[in-house]
Structure formats: C-alpha cells, structure tokens
Amino acid sequence: MLQQIENNEVIDQSTSNTSIQTNIEKELLKNMIWLRMCEETLVKLYPEQEMRTPCHFATGQEAIATGVCQALSQGDVVYSHHRCHNHYLAAGGSFFKLAAELYGRLEGCSNGKGGSVHLTARDKGFIISSAILGEDIAVAAGSAFAFKIDKLPYVAVPFFGDASCEEGSFYETLNFASLNKIPALFICENNLYSTESHIDIRAASGATIHGRAKALGIETAAIDGNNVFEVYNTVKSVLPKIRSGNGPFFLECATYRWREHVGPNFDYNVPNRTYRSKEEQEYWINERCPIKSAKQLLLNNGTVTAVEIENWEASMQIEIDDAIKRAKQGTWPDVSSLLENVY
C-alpha cells in the first residue's frame, strides 16, 4: 500500500488539488472498509477453532492504521504490537498471508511460526509486530536512528496502545528520541483499556499521554483517532518536518476497541464481563464508528456514491472469501522444519 500510494501521488501531481483530495478521501474510506471486512471475517470464523492463535481484534480502530499508513511513503517503516492486523493490512500486507498465518500454514507471512501477534510484511515496510508492551516503541526508534545515521529521508513509525505508555521502554525511548532528534513518528492509539483496566485507574491525575511526551521535549498533538481525515492530514503535515531532521513527533489518537481484549466477542455478551458498560460500548459503536462517519461525510458531499461503495464491498468480499478458502487449504509446515531459523 505504501508503494501504491506513492505511485498515486506521482500520477496525481499532474491533476488538480481537488482531484488529489477526492482520490485520497476515497482511498482512505476504501482502505478502512477493507480493514473492517478482513477483521470481521476473521471474527466470524474464529469460533470454528481452526485459527489456533490468540487474536486481539482491532475492530473500531481502523482510522488510525489507515490514516497513518496512507500518509507514509516507500522506505518508511512501521512496527506494531499485539493488536496488529489493521496495521499490517493498512501497510499493504496480504490478507491471504495473514489468514494463512492464523491457520498455522506455511503460506502465512511468518510461515505459520509467528501467529496473530508476530506478523511481518517487510517488502511493504511493515517490519514486525510483537506482543510485549513497549517493545516496538524502542525498536522503531532504532530504525529511525539507523535512518539518521545513514542520512536517509525515511521515517519509522511504532503503533502502540495507551498501556504501552506505562512501560519503562516508553520513557527511555522518548528521551533518546528527543535527545537525538531521530525521524520517528510515535502513534499512540489510546483505546482507554489495558485488557480490562480503564486508563483512569492506571494514569496519574492530569498526566495525559501526549503530555508525557511533551515533557520530554517532543512536539505532540492529540486528535480524534476515529476521524480518518484528521489522522491522515495531521500525519501528512508533520512528516516533512520529521524527514528534514526536526526530530520526532508524538501523536495521541483517541479511539475505542469494540471487541473484547482477546477473542471475537462483544464484552456485553460475555457473562460477568462488567468492566465496561453496554451503553459505553454502544455509544462508540453507533455514534463514533470511524467508517460510518467517513462514509456519511463523503456521501453527503458527493465524493462517493452508495453504488461505488457497494461495488468496492462486493469485490472485497470476493477477494476475502478466496483468500480464506486458499488459506484453509494451505500447507501444514513439515515437522522437519521445527528447528529451522533458530540461528
């Protein structure tokens, strides 16, 4: 996807600004729908017990992955955490390879050895995701540090959640990033919950996440992470400064996880799952859905038609169904490969 957008932009330079804007707005909506349809397909199939890997579904958080990745260029790199399907797909990772990975097949992006939280699509700039909180913040900063050493115009982007901002790695990395003015774009997806623990009982009063970054001398912004246009435009506007050596930027994006921490259910359908109310969940699902609001906006201003969206969805469904079918028929890794790639 990074490659594709780069090409689009090159082509679009000959057309009017309005046309560029229209194309990008449509692309943003289309990409979010792709992420949603992929993830919700996995959600539906998950209870079949054929994907034997803990999945942290990210339904509801599409705008951040889409808005950030669509603003990046070839050569930029992305890192993610346990809730990584959206980031992998938004960067251009193959859905077939994701599904095959979840089914434990050789055709998976990590040949079936990684599972849901250990994805890679290096050729798309999605280097890796890993499960331990705070890890990828430092690792992405290391890639940014390498870009700085080599005087390359690339940016490294870690996606991480609000709970990662409680880890020591977060503070250590931000200090280093600020000190060395590395080309990193820190994307915090604040979805309010760490497993089942609300941020209000985890954060000191008044200690906003972006405020912590600011205290370390990093330029920051806090935005609506469910507004894909705001995410995209913010990232697009800060990237040139990051690339030109002004140092890192920290973006806190407010969002919400629709489904349970790990697994396919809505919490309100799970007995004794009382850590958040049904009303709160329904508010975010019905009133704050990033796709619903983007769709409405683009339909209202005539950027896209309902028929266009239906056509996208129909062709995406065909692609998804085909990918699932092929993934389920994928090859089991031979036991002889158990010890391969340790060193």
Binding site: G114, I128, G142, N175, F176, N341
Partner: protein, 343 residues
Amino acid sequence: MRNLKFAEAVSEGIIQGMEADPNVILMGNSISYNSGALGTTCEANKRFSHRVFETPSMENAITGIAIGAAAMGKRPILYHARADFLFLAMDQMLNLAAKWKYMYSGNAGTVPIVVRAVVGKGWGQGATHSQSLHSLFAHFPGINVVLPNSPEDAKGLLLSALTLDSPTVIFEHRTVYNNVGPVNEERYFTPIGKAKIVRAGKDITIVATSHMVTEATIAAEALAKEGVDTEVIDLRTIRPLDEETILESIKKTGHLLVVDTSWELCGVSSEIAGLAAEKAFYHLKSPVRRMSTANCPQPVSLPLESAFFPKASNIVRNVLNMLGKNSSDNIDIDLKDNFKGPY
C-alpha cells in the same frame, strides 16, 4: 607474535570489525571517553567517532533501539559496564532479538546485535555488581553466549559475532582483563560454538568458563607436580555448546570436574554434568563434580568474599580427592587479588 592485554585485544577486534563493515556501530554509557569501557572503545572513538554513540542509562530501550537499527542493516555493539544491568535488557534480548529469525521464519530479516557485559569480581563488588548471567541467557534458543578468557579469543570471538545472523552476548569477566597473551595482528575469526583444550592431559578433565579457566590452569600446573596430568577445557561458548570436545575428553580421562563463575543450580556446570551423565556415563570412573560460586549472593566482607569463589587451591583439593589421592593442607598457589578498586 606480539602480546596484548585483554582490553587491547577487544579494542583491536572492534577496530578491525569497524574497518571491515561500515555498519558496525558502538553504543553504550560512558563509552565515548578515554577512560570509558575499560579502555576498549578509546581507539574506536578516535578513529570512528561518528560511529560511537553515547547513550543515557536505558538498558531496556537501548537494546530495542539496537535491534531496530540492526533490522535496518546496522551491526550495533552494545556495552554494559556491569552485566547485572542486563536484567533490565532481558525483554528485548530474549523476547525479541533471540526469537526474531524464528518467529518470522526469516521473512523479517535478522537482528545480529552484539552485547558486551563486564562481570565484576572482588574488592567488595557485592551482590549486584558481580553476577555472570551466562547460564540464564544460555537457556534461550536463538542467542549466542560467549565467555572469552584469553586476549586471543576475546578478539576472535568478537569478530566472529560480527559476522553472524543471530544476536550474541559476550560476558567479559573483570578478572580476565588482567590476562596478557599472543594475539594475531590479522583480522581472524574464532569459531563460536567450539571449545578449546588449553592444556592437554590424560588423568582428569576440567571444564571451565571464563576466569575459571585461569584458576583451573594454575591448579593443573600444581597437580602436575603431584603426578596428575590434567586436561583443561575452556568452553568459550556455552550456547551453542561444544559437546563433542567435552565428551571426547571424558572418554579419554574418565573423570570430570566442572568449574564455573556462577551458581550450580540450573547453571552451565549442571548442564555439563548432565551431558556427561547422559552421553558419557559408562566412561566415567568417578562421580562428576561441580565447583561454582557459593549458594548465596556475593558478600562484600573480605573473608566471606574470598570463600565465595572457586579458586585454584580448592580445585587441586577436589581433583586429588576425586582421584583418591591425599592432598596437603597448605596449597599456596592462589592468585593474589591485586585489584585496587573501586571499579
């Protein structure tokens, strides 16, 4: 061949590694001063100052940063003035670096970081400045664990580590910094995963790690006067472990004593004893013995500290006892602790 001190050999290895590969960089706290890193980075700092990076105290994130830089093609050498600080770096080293190649089946590339860590001993270094964590790290597949004793190996093993796909941790015992020995001026590679017979003998095998190779060699010379022909094996690497050299020696001598710089329980001395029991049982003429640090944290007070470490005189007593020989009470061969502190 000229003789070099241990620190000079490490320094020469670093320089030749940096000359051969422009991607080799150094990172650590206080490494960019002439007094830093026990003198091992002074020359690199003079010759390649733009590739020597001073870092804040951030053992966790700096390891992640090294990994992220390595993912972009760098070969970082990280320095820790005391190995005890590696506890803070274990997540990145073991949850990510050691697993990187395997988890993503090689599709995300490799992260061949090299971590140097100095192990303290004596002059009241105390419980948290004197631990050698090699057995702990060696538990995990995917990482190389190296313990040089001679200047020659310090250089050759470091240069080898800089050619591997996998991460390496090198434990440099403070006491082996006293060692002086012949070092080839060329850039050469000492194989990682291959033990060295430093003294050939036929009566008993002593397998030793790091500084204990020095103690075992002193003991072997004293034992020769008692008519005991001792074979001393310097493990050099404990992961991968060179089983063949150990087993061949046991088959020859029939007796095995293992001497290590860390604790027995779940330690490398137990691993070697287990190896002998499993694969050389019928060649053993006496029970295997282990000598290691006492089963307590390291105390500071002089008589307690002195009793804490295995030393040459005790090795002699153990060997004579294993072979059914009498030993005199006064064996005056132990190294005088000439370390004047404080660091």
